[in-house]
Each structure stands twice: as C-alpha cells, then as structure tokens.
Symmetry: C2
Subunit: 342 residues, 2 copies
C-alpha cells in the first residue's frame, strides 16, 4: 500500500460521499424533494413533458489525462457532454447523478475538485446534482454522469427526421477543441497566450448549446438534430443512417474560428481536418427545409447571439460526400472513436 | 498492443453500441418513446408520481473479480443493486442507462455478456435499458448504472423517518452473500454443492426486494426504509444518523439462513459477523411502530411469501448497541467499505 492509497483509504467512501452531498446541496432547485444521501433522489418534473435520459462516461488515459486537465475541468466536461445530449433532443436538463471510480493513489482533493467541476457545469445550466457514487479502484479515474431532462412532445428533435433537400446546419464553429488537444500534444505556445487560452477553454470547458437548442426546437422548423461530440466525420453518418438519407458537405462553408485556423497551420495541421474529424466541439448539427434557414438563424441569433451556418444539404443517396470549393470531392476522414485513442 | 486489444479496437465503440442497442430493444416497454441510439432516450412516466433517480458503480478488483464472476453476473448485479435502491424508497423502477469502461484486453463478447446480464435483471423487474455508453479503457472493467423510477408522494420512504420506540425490521435473511464471498476466497466446496450454489447465487445474482418494498410502502405504516448493500453494521448507522436516533440490535434475532450458518462454521467464520458486517444482501431494513409489525409482516408474506423479522428497536440515544442473547453488549463490527477491499 502506497502512502497515497493510505490517504484515500482513510478518507473512505462515507466521508467522500458526505462531502459530495454537502457540495451538491448548494445547487438544489425547487424540484428536488430529496437530494443526495438517501438510496435515491426524489424529484419533480414539469407536467406534460416527455422525459429525457442519457449517460456518458469519461476514462483517464482515453478521454483525458490528469497531467493536462485539472479534476475540476474533468468534472465540468463530464457534466457538459451530458447536458449537450439533452440539448441535442431540444430539451431542458433538470437533474444529474454522477459516479466516480477513483484510483487509490488519488488524494481526496481530486474527488472534491471533480465534484466541484460537475456541480459548476450543472449549476450553470439550471441542473441539480442529486446523487452520486464514489468507489475506490485499482485502475484509472473514471467518471460517469447521467442526466434527466424533459421536452414538450411536439418539440423533441431526433436524429431520424432529416429529409432529402433539407439544409444541413451547425451552430457556432468547429475545430477549436481539437486544436486545443493538438496544442497539448505538441506544445508550442504559452498557456497564457490568448489563442492558446481560447482553444484550451474549448477543449477543457465546453459549453453545451442548451439555449440555442431550445430556440431551434421552439421554431418547430428543424427536422433532425444531434450534438457533435465525435466530429462531423463520425456524427454526420449517424444522423444520415438514422434518417435513411445521405449528405453533401461543403468544405468551404465549415465554420472554423480564425484563432483555430491560425494555430492549426502553425502546428502543421489541416484546419479543415480538425474541424471535420476533431470532435468534442459540442455544437449542434441539425437539418431543416431550405426555406426555414433564415427564420432559424435569426431566432438563434436573437436568443443567444450564436451564429448558425449552413454547411451542406441532405441528399437521397446513401453516403456522405464532402465537396471542395471547386466542386471536387474530398475524403471525409474519420471522427474520434475512443477505442483508437490512448 | 496485445492481440486482445487489437480485437476490441477493431470492434470499436460504434459496433458495440449497435449491438447493445439491438439487445436492449428486445426489452422495451410501452413508455419508451425512443430507446437507445439517439443522444438521449425519450420516455414517459406515469402521472402524479414523484421521480426517483439513483446510480451505483462497480469496479473490477474492488467489487468483483473476472476470474470469479462471469460478465453476465456482473451485469446482473450492477443492475440489481440499482433496482434495490429504488425498492428502498418504496418505488417502482422504469428505465435504466448503463455505462461500461472496458479494458482493451477484453473481447467484445465480454461487453455483450455484460449487456445481456444488465438487460436480464432489468427485464425481470419491468425495467427497460434505454441507453448506454461503452468506452475503451487502459484500466479495469467498470460498470455504472443509473435507474429512473417513481413513487406516489404519500408512499415514498426515506431513511430519516425512524422514531424512538419503532421496531427495526429486515426482510428475508442476512449473510448468504458474504458466505458466498468467503467460499470464493477460501474454496472448500464444489461449485455444484447445493449449499455452495445457494450462497454463490446470493452473491452473484442478488434479487432486489421490489415487490416486498411496494407491499411495505402500501401499508403506509413504515416510518423509514433503506436497502442493505454494505451490511447492517455500515447501513444501520446511516439510517439512525438520518433519523437522529439510535438503535438496539438483538443479535439472536438476526435471521441467518441455515446453509449460511453451517458453511460459515465450516470456514471458521462467525455467522453473525457475516450477517451483520458482510454486506451485499440487498434486503430491506425498515422501521415501524411496534403495533404495526403484524400487519406489515402479514402483508409482505401474503404479497411475496417473504418473511419479515424484527431484529431490534429504535432508541432515543445516539449510537447502535448490539445485545447478545443474555443481554450483554457485543461489538457491532464494521460493514463493507469498498476502500478497504481489493
């Protein structure tokens, strides 16, 4: 037993859970009848809604490295990616539970900071952390979050509604998170450099597009939606498969933030590849009839100030084609499959 | 990279998730508007209920060993312990999501068998597995399950309602799961021996007391309830702490199955210690006024055939006392704190 293990073993599951409960209780919302500390949380949901339930797991060495990310950032991201899944359905998140598998060598402060990150991201989006589990482990740090949300039946957006002729749109911009990852891998800029800060923030503390998603859903004009967690190259085929359609992506229209483009070139990376295959941007990918584009764009801009870009169109041929500026077809590459990483 | 890793990497997250979805779709209930495969599941809950949400994680080397338990058993137990948490609130489970962190060395069949175990336990108790995540990992197998359930507001049972003078009761019997674990550690019986089968089944495939819990809740006579996951010695203090009370436990009344008592003596273990400190029995621990004991006992017996035993009483002194047959005070020992195992 190492001294580090000794520390965690002394702290014990009970004390960590008590601290977790104390931290979480600060963010409780009126719908929480009973939060952490019993066998299950007791919760109210708004009436006349369908419920949404999702989970996403992050593992050390695959999704994050403890020498790059702080425990707080890991907590934030684990929560944010789940909130993004609720956004992708056009819904609102309400409650979250989180389980953490903590290596014996980690100090109790790792668990505390991680919980603080989970709670900060949840609180930022009106979500209460209402329960959790902390287990000691012989292996790396693993965090799993589940979020319960809801959506009006008539506003729910699935991946399966895209139709040939629909426009393909994306919120915000793509590639900054992947540029942040490349910067971590390669080095080359000081952490306090403004460009570095921008791409590292995109990578470590992504902001789920919940307001944008609600604005899009409220127009009732979108036909399909999902969030971009694994990159366009991986996620767009999923949307097309569910909808039984294909897509033509216009490379020149993929929105890449200037800072990211500049940094990519500095690092010898193709900015388009980062934007298309990088993943972890947590932007919304959605479809709508071409005549609805302006109304959706204006609604999102007005609600949240976030730009929406048309990046392609849905086709009736199976398969995804990426077209370059002069019409030539480009390879789409592949997205972020975690089994191929780490 | 080992050949095993190669196998899993080739299988990939997408294929595993597709298979997971295929397996889960067989168990879908009418309330599932949209199951696995989108960003979140879309679900209906019965009207006029409070929602229940819980999560529980199991990690290889701490909660299970792959040379002792099959992946199917691990899946069953991971689901069962979450269903038991819903039972502990007096509620009904409806939906589950599960995340699995799978070592690269594991074959895809491990994930499939684990999913089958999760789905079998869920299905046995009317619960639909509606989503999940599978991630590759550099570390041991980790499974996290979250269950969403519901309960009528007037039937919900918390840990905090026990009052001095209440009787302390437990469903079924205690110690078989711990005896199973001891048998695995020490050996000494053939796996097909009837006693071995009984205690190993208790250890590997616990059955959450959902029907019993509903019957107890429906009487509206119980004042507090929880499930026994970490053993009386660890869990009873939690109930007492939440209720602001103490308890006197009568050692001679703790129900120990004869097979377990015999096996414990064979292994040189104290059967009472296994029953009090062993953990993982997933029986219900609850309290009620003394005059309500008979009605609750009869209701549970009639509904499920399960015996209910009075094992002590709630006191107004802080602290737990275990009284021997001749009135002497016995040490309570301590329950199963996962940080002290493995």
């Amino acid at each position: 037993m190492t001294p580090g293990e000794e520390r965690l073993r002394d702290t014990g599951e009970n004390r960590l859970l008590a601290r977790f409960r104390e931290l979480a209780s600060a963010g409780l919302t009126p719908g929480v009848v009973l939060g952490s500390g019993d066998d299950a949380a007791i919760l109210r949901a708004p009436e006349n809604r369908l419920l949404l339930l999702t989970c996403d797991m992050m593992a050390e060495g695959v999704h994050f490295r403890l020498d790059w990310a702080t425990p707080w950032q890991i907590g934030w991201k684990a929560m944010a990616q789940n909130l993004s899944d609720i956004a992708a359905m056009g819904g609102e998140p309400g409650y979250a539970v989180a389980s953490v598998s903590l290596p014996g060598s980690a100090g109790a402060e790792v668990a505390e900071q991680l919980a603080a990150g989970l709670i900060a991201a949840a609180g930022e989006y009106g979500t209460a952390l209402v329960g959790g589990d902390v287990v000691g482990s012989i292996g790396p740090l693993v965090v799993d979050v589940s979020v319960l949300g809801w959506v009006e039946a008539e506003l729910a957006l699935r991946r399966s509604g895209a139709r040939p002729g629909d426009a393909l749109l994306v919120t915000g911009s793509l590639g900054a998170s992947a540029a942040g990852l490349k910067l971590l891998e390669r080095g080359g800029r000081r952490r306090d450099d403004p460009v570095a800060q921008q791409v590292l923030a995109a990578h470590f503390t992504p902001r789920p597009r919940l307001g944008e998603a609600r604005a899009i859903a409220a127009t009732r004009l979108a036909t399909a939606m999902m969030d971009l967690s694994d990159g366009l190259a991986e996620d767009l085929p999923r949307l097309c498969l569910e909808s039984g359609v294909g897509a033509r992506l216009w490379a020149a229209r993929v929105p890449i933030p200037p800072a990211c483009a500049g940094l990519a070139e500095e690092l010898g990376e193709d900015p388009l590849a980062l934007a298309v295959s990088g993943g972890e941007d947590y932007e919304l990918l959605f479809t709508c009839p071409p005549e609805a584009v302006e109304e959706i764009r204006n609604t999102v801009k007005k609600a949240r100030g976030t730009p929406v870009h048309v990046i392609g169109e849905i086709t009736d041929e199976r398969g995804i084609i990426m077209a370059g500026a002069d019409g030539q077809e480009l390879p789409l590459g592949r997205g972020f499959d975690h089994f191929r990483v780490g």
